[in-house]
Amino acid sequence: MKKNQHKTETHEFNRRRFLQGLAGGTGLAVLSPTSVNAHVPSYAQTPSVLVDVTRCIGCRQCMRACKQANDLPDNTDLTADFPGSWDPEELRFDQWTVVNPATGCDTDGNEVTRNIKTQCMQCLEPTCVSVCPVGAMTKSELGPILYSADRCIGCRYCIMACPFDVPKFEWEGGMFAVIGKCQMCAHTRLAEGRLPACAESCPTGALKFGRRDSLLFEARARIKTQPERYIDHIYGEHEAGGTAWLYLSDVPFENIGFKSNVETTPMPPLTWEVLSKIPIMAGAMAGLFGTVAWSLNRREAAERQDASENQEDSE
């Protein structure tokens, strides 16, 4: 009986807390369209892509598919000798994903080359969304981070702040330059229930699309069943607080061009911790300076009055 009662209490407590949380969450959502937690209770269902570096042959079909799906100028040269002889390509405002060979030492110390696909990592708690002053970067209901040129002012803080150096700027853009980055085909394809163009185009299964939790499960299973094939690290599981794009590799990530110094906690709190204190600080300062000014003024007025009274007395 006692046990049961306790259980009910816990249940009640949890329900109350849940309702409070819901109310708080709704309030937060109204106040802050960018608060990611308000939208996505859990990141388990976030549309994600698992990249298996060991399976990528560097054919760059994903680059071409990306450009066609997003109406970007396509100058991908697929006629050159295949594979590995492509010129290195860089992310640009009109080139949202690239595949480049990267050479580095594997775990045995041998120099090996791997093909690395780069695009927006689609952070679960995105830095770009938190730093954008006008909400031009938003995290969609589904998860991918969208960019809206209609809101953008071109301050380039997102470029500066992105832990993966993904957003790119149209440097020759005159008065109406835009930022460009992968949006995981959220509007065009995900909304229709189709895969992102790159994932669909991959001929080798190096890109696998799915829910984040099932992809993580699969990645762990691959590492466990083939420990000789993979290193025990899923890049993106914890980087920058977790990303929707996850990478598996046989070569340590830092040796093939991945940033190894990215924080493993979400980035937005770094500035929010300071920002959220500003109203209190401002209020305190207003009170402090107001009091000082008022009291000093009053003292001066009193002194002036004394002086004039003294003058009258002497007269």
Binding site: C155, F169, A177, W272, A282, N297
Partner: protein, 412 residues
């Protein structure tokens, strides 16, 4: 390459003009040479602007995706805002803390700050990728962004500065009722100005809190906002010293020597606090040995901390040194150079860490920055000429002196 030669020649001439003023040497051709140089700078800046707006930022600046913020942000905006900090410091000193002996330098200081913020606003307008959308932060709120807060603070503080600068203009126009209204609101407006300044001066540092793995450890610190605020206060005071010195020289009026010495002393104390905090911070985070590692970053950090913080702090703490106007000027100038170096270090050198620099400013970026400085100076002296900016008791005297500087009159 020709552009760089042009810039170097301009810089040499401007330095020579400043030295002429400091040493009271006024060769006949001083004024025509200055005028021609300034005109050349303005023409090249105009050319830069036309190309920037037609062909894009990439056509005139050295910025790229690896270095998205260049000299216009680092030197013009970050350093410009810091250099204009004197405005809120003196306004608070006079109106809140009622230390009224600083009243004679209130108006010129506020005017300098106002012009500084106007230039910062123009620089931002030019630097953002979609200039016509500059007003978006006013209606499209995103209060999780430091940039959003900075934008609002800068706009609001510019309004505050406009109100604080207005009395001389209203006096000149004879709008006594409006003047009375402005004067009754002085204290709340000044308090608002101090709060807004504290907020955005520190927030410019907070902008970099989000990049712990990118900004070099010598500059990155959770205390960045505090460092930005403290250094801005010291630099703002030193700007007042430099500005007063040159105003006195050009307008041939007396220098408020006592006030300048006091400002210098206060700036020195603040610099010592800054230095101590910076050292304590580096020690606490275990990066003190990086100071002497010999990289480009560590060398520039040493120049910044030794040459532009420790050295002027020591000089300003020596009473005999403070009594020399040129000594005071030298120390103040070092601090000003130091704040520019610090902001450039944070926004460029500290962020551009690899075997080679991704960003090198173009001569056009420097030309536009020089145009801002010279333009601001010209507007300042025009305002001083037409408006009662300097103390009233000397009005007549100033007018005489200004007249002597106008074209057609001979400098005595």
């Amino acid at each position: 390459m020709n552009g760089w030669i042009f810039i170097l020649v301009c810089l040499a001439i401007l330095t020579w003009v400043a030295l002429c003023l400091v040493y009271d040497k006024r060769p006949r051709f001083l004024r025509p040479v200055t005028a021609i140089t300034v005109l050349c700078i303005w023409v090249s800046a105009l050319w830069t602007l036309i190309r920037r707006f037609s062909e894009g930022l990439g056509a005139v600046t050295g910025m790229n995706d690896a270095a998205p913020w260049g000299l216009w942000i680092g030197a013009d905006v970050f350093a410009g805002v810091a250099l204009a900090a004197g405005g809120f410091v003196i306004a608070a000193t006079v109106h809140i803390f009622r230390i009224e002996r600083f009243e004679p330098i209130l108006r010129p200081t506020i005017l300098t700050a106002f012009l500084g913020y106007m230039l910062v606003a123009v620089a931002l307008f030019i630097d953002i990728g979609r200039p016509l959308s500059w007003w978006h932060p006013l209606v499209m709120w995103q209060h999780h962004s430091i940039m959003f807060e900075v934008t609002w603070c800068v706009i609001l503080y510019s309004t505050v500065l406009a109100i604080e600068t207005s009395p001389p203009l209203l006096e000149r126009l004879g709008l006594t009722r409006l003047l009375k209204l402005v004067k009754t609101t002085t204290i709340p407006v000044v308090i608002a100005g101090v709060i807004l300044s504290t907020m955005h001066q520190s927030s410019l540092g907070s902008l970099y809190l989000i990049v712990p793995e990118k900004l070099y450890p010598l500059w990155y610190s959770p205390l960045l906002p505090v460092f930005f605020l403290i250094s801005a206060v010291a630099a703002g005071m030193c700007v007042i010293i430099v500005e007063s010195y040159f105003s006195a020289k050009i307008l041939r009026r007396g220098l408020e020597s006592m006030l300048m010495r006091d400002l210098g002393r206060a700036a020195g104390i603040i610099l010592f606090i800054y230095l101590a905090m910076k050292m304590a911070d580096l020690t606490a985070r275990g990066h003190l040995e990086m100071v002497f590692e010999g990289s480009l970053q560590s060398r520039l950090f040493l120049v910044e901390m030794m040459g532009c913080v420790a050295l002027p702090a020591i000089l300003l703490s020596i009473r005999k040194f403070r009594l020399l106007p040129r000594g005071l000027l030298t120390a103040a100038f070092l601090v000003m150079a130091g704040i520019v170096l610090n902001r450039v270090n944070v926004s460029w050198i500290g962020m551009d860490v690899s075997d080679h620099l991704h960003y090198i400013p173009t001569w056009m970026e420097i030309a536009l920055s020089l145009a801002f400085i010279t333009g601001g100076t010209v507007v300042f002296f025009l305002a001083v000429h037409y408006l009662p900016i300097f103390p009233r008791a000397e009005d007549e005297q100033i007018d005489e002196q200004v007249k002597s500087l106008l074209p057609g009159s001979r400098v005595a």
